[in-house]
Amino acid sequence: MNPALDIAAVVLVLVATVVLGAMGVRFSRTTGDFFVASRSVRSVWNASAISGEYLSAGTFLGLAGLVLLVGADGFWFPIGYAAGYLLLLLFVAAPLRRSGAYTIPDFIEARLESKAVRRLTSVLVVVIGWLYIVPQLHGASLALKVVADLPEWAGAVVVAVVVCGLVAAGGMRAITVVQGMQYWLKLTALLVPAVVLLIALSGREPELSPALEPLQAFPVELGPAATHPYATGSLMLALLLGTIGLPHVLVRFYTSPDGGSARRTTVLVVAMIGAFYAVSGTMGLIARVVTPDLAHPGLADTVVLALPSRVLPGPVGTLLTALVVAGAFAAFLSTSSGLVVSLAGVISQDVFDGSVRSFRLSAVLCVVVPLGVALLTGPEALVSSVGTVFLVAATSLTPVILLGVWWRGLTARGAAAGMLVGALTCGAALLGSALVGETLSGADAALAAALLAQPAAWAIPLATAVVIVVSLRDRDRVPSRADRYLARLHLPERRREA
């Protein structure tokens, strides 16, 4: 590793981000530009931006680290993230684009005609967003510490300042351009090293290679056959459904010109993120062969940064490391800016007057709080931190969004009850897992620990049942315009304009 070159790569990414963002700022003049880029972003560029935003520090650094640490179970995370987009496509992509809303709370209020439920949704959206920004800042701290030996606060502060400035200056219009670029940068930053490392490893003389034999690197006890059925099934449910409840994912569909293009965009996103996960998984497989010494919690997340220099100690390895660092920073910046845009949209409308000025002030608030949390806490396992965010979104927001799109009988009370039960149950299970999960003993201890650590399998059905039961008991209060709004969600655009 060469600290000067690595920092130069980071600076280059920051400059490219600011320059592209400034180009976007020139076109950001209206409130619609700031919130949803005036709903005029074409499918390919929008898909690049969505993919750029979705592929966070968790997958760029964390996925290979997780495969190194836990084996084949690590692959379930990206599979769940990608399949989550399939569910998004199946049930909500086109209807939500047609909803005419800027944010999830806008959608909930328009659908349920309730300010109180809107406020509850806003609180959940902001909490989920903040929880998601923290691992991005942790990832930035980790990267700069490893490659340049800078103090831990440096990376988090750099990302926070750039994201804050970019979003406050240009809103959604500016970051759409930036995030589109960042997807391709991230893909290149992993694809080039992966290909070069595979070529280098395949051409090595066996006696010179420190690599492990296949059966040592890929033991059966860490392979696909060793998966815990309940824990994996519950995790997959959280990841599949959690994508629908992520605030920065849904706001992206509002930027498509119409429902059909929102659907086409989602198909492109599935292809793009699948390609990235395949490359990222390759780095995980290489890591298991080359760097078994890094298979420790805390160290494993740095393996993508360490791999090029381990395999190619010369200038090629140094250059590849700089490229990986650049890609990692693109990941921190794109996901954070997407989250901040969506949160700023919510806060500016719910707390302030919804103007461009209040959007800018909200953007600052949305960065300061998670920055404080990130500085007060240390970097945890990046992938599992992001997985927790998906779990919270899946238990609290997803049942209400899905039923809001497809079930006429949803009421405001049902939605509020379901969101509260989902969020509180999920929080209690995770707290219980942290406090007593490891102290359990006996025959049922493993199952009890899994039920607490992966509560999606019972918490999501519970929250959904609460929404349905409370709504059915409250059927006199079905919103008077429910049919009209459902028609709006499902009616194809040309027909509506006719």
Partner: protein, 131 residues
């Protein structure tokens, strides 16, 4: 103006009662400003049912295919797990095999959903022409 002239008569001015005007005898699916037709209601509910059926069917199909694929990986990992490019086949399938499946289901669904909407448009358009 003379002092004994009567002040102008007060006239109450209000917006059109749009909600009342649009309030249909049926379940009210029209968008603001659009007339309500019974046929529209039937076609729209048909479209919603078709889209939900398609989404649910695609999900069930995806889950079934994924389960079969996962079971196949499990069996391969437990029995003869050939090494390809230095990596056991079961690991390679787990790392790369699911994404093409997800993409295929995404493409099939998007095409079918667009076809449902085209069918709705043609039905609704034909009904309008008759009207």
């Amino acid at each position: 103006m003379s002092e004994d002239a009567e002040p102008p008569r007060r006239v109450r001015v209000s917006a059109d009662d749009a909600a009342a005007a649009e309030s249909p005898g049926t379940s009210g699916i029209a968008l603001p400003g659009a007339p309500v037709h019974e046929a529209d209601t039937v076609f729209l509910h048909g479209l919603m049912r078709a889209q939900l059926r398609l989404a649910a069917g695609s999900l069930v199909g995806f889950l079934l295919v994924s389960l079969v694929f996962t079971a196949s990986i499990f069996i391969i990992a437990r029995t003869a797990d050939p090494i390809l490019f230095g990596v056991p086949l079961s690991w390679l399938l787990q790392a790369y095999g699911y994404y093409p499946l997800i993409l295929v289901f995404a493409i099939l669904f998007a095409r079918s959903a667009a076809r449902n909407e085209r069918r709705y448009r043609s039905l609704a358009g034909a009904d309008e022409e008759r009207a």
